[in-house]
Symmetry: C2
Subunit: 304 residues, 2 copies
């Protein structure tokens, strides 16, 4: 069918929108017809963010009515009703009926889901997950979160909470996570936690170390950074191996800033994941391809 | 549709078969029309077991051609082709085309799956899992294995290996499992391993302690047995909590001998599972209802 699909991504303080021609989706090298990215200003609320996103959509559509709209939201969403549960970044999002608001404003069918599910769908439909029936997508960034494609369909869980690999426990004697448990994957493998651990071990102010710096120092051979990065990678690998034993996905796709930590990081992750999975439980672990645009591509796939 | 469904369960050395009237499946209190259980003799092979099972089927059907046949097999099965991969108990099972053999012998459509998947399906269709869309079934017995119902359908994984919760790691510094890893759920929570640990700690010959004895001693307050049983229950709870974070099933059903270890065991399992899952990840953990007959009921459901 010819016509435009509008994709929107509410990514915390970053708003992105893009349009694509529906009839071109299965063509090789399919590209956006238009693409906008804006930062929501200090003091933004749900209301101002929604107004800004609608304006971006109107600008991209230039008067055309879209065939469909897909929306990625950076926080928990009730997929059935397309209602936001809450945002950890911006006030006023509790219970906002995003699907209904966009459907009214643009007179088109709308689907809304959280960013991890949407990114998983994007990588599966347009990126590193093409061609497999069962996929786990994990973003390793300021947090660690995941999304599933199972039997060729997004899987969300009974209450929309599936994919919380960041808070699976891989070391009950490990360091304490903000969630109250010890040794969660996120506590070991996320950028801010690794930075915090390196800062503490080296007696540096916490605000002087970032996850990116830990990776750079590790590349230079700084011992504390190497040890913390390896612990994080192996903790993640253990969590992925456990997930593989439970669901037997053919592929695991990893995205997010921490995955830029170099070949050694990937080796630790893959080695530990494979050692944790049973010999018959086979899978590959590959880098995400769509990166920052994964939620937009996934939002497109959400409308199909 | 009126007619008989034949259900078969190759359960290691125990062969079970039963017939049921298809038109009665959704009636309350539906019961078997006939039910047989036989032990395969010492020296049994795949061939002799198959012959014995076919004889049981013919006896139950009394000349009638079945509408369909469902088969549960106690080992890995390729579900698509209905072929057995191998048996750990009886020789000669590698590559046996069970589906094809029964289809030819009984002139009826046949479906075959492994016992954990089939038991999950049975509990979901006829037992403790009725009415939920997403279910994890786990048997805690000589081993620890699981099966999934996701989005109202059995989920098997890309290569039929989903459900291996027994070999997810919950304590990387725990005791060594036969699989080579440390702190697998099965290493902590299965009957034989708990018995081994209690025997070792108390200086008893290994063959004098069983999982059942550990539970009985724990009820009497014997400290070693209490400690080992609690460690097993909490290890299982951690594995279940991790699985809940990953898949967000509405219900977890537990079957197998170890689940008869008393209220305290259930309390430890539930408490640890809930503490491991995020607060928004809610589920209940309930005992299996069909027990020994779960594979037969599941085999019936497999034909639907």
């Amino acid at each position: 069918m010819a016509g435009l699909i509008l994709a929107c991504d509410f990514g915390g303080t970053k708003l992105s929108a893009a349009v694509i021609e529906a009839s071109e989706l299965d063509q090789p090298g399919v590209a956006w017809r238009g693409h906008l990215r804006r930062f929501s200003p200090a003091g933004a609320t749900a209301q101002t963010d929604i107004a800004m996103m609608m304006e971006m959509g109107r600008e991209l559509l230039a008067g055309e009515r879209p065939l469909a709209i897909g929306i990625s939201f950076g926080g928990p969403v009730d997929y059935q009703s397309g209602t936001v549960r809450l945002s950890h970044h911006v006030p006023g999002w509790e219970g906002v009926p995003l699907q209904q608001l966009f459907a009214q404003a643009f007179q088109a069918p709308v689907r809304v889901d959280n960013d991890a599910n949407v990114a998983a769908l994007g990588e599966w439909r347009f990126g590193a997950g093409r061609g497999v029936a069962d996929l786990l997508y994990v973003t390793v960034s300021t947090g660690v979160g995941g999304g599933w494609i199972l039997d060729g369909r997004p899987y969300r869980g009974s209450f929309g909470m599936a994919g919380e690999i960041g808070h699976t426990v891989v070391d009950p004697n490990g360091p304490v996570c903000l969630c109250g448990k010890r040794g969660c994957v996120e506590r070991l493998a996320s950028g801010p936690y690794m930075a915090q651990d390196v800062a503490l071990a080296r007696g540096l102010p916490a605000n002087e170390v970032t996850g990116k710096l830990v990776a750079e120092w590790a590349k230079l051979g700084e011992e504390t950074a190497v040890a913390i990065l390896e612990r994080g990678a192996r903790g993640l690998g253990l969590g992925l191996g456990n997930a593989a034993n439970l669901l037997n996905p053919a592929r695991i796709v990893l995205g997010g800033g921490v995955t830029k930590s170099g070949e050694r990081w990937w080796k630790w992750v893959r080695q530990t994941a494979q050692a944790t999975a049973l010999p018959e439980v086979t899978f590959d672990i590959v880098p995400a391809q769509l990166e920052d645009d994964a939620p937009l591509w996934g939002a497109v796939a959400l409308t199909e």
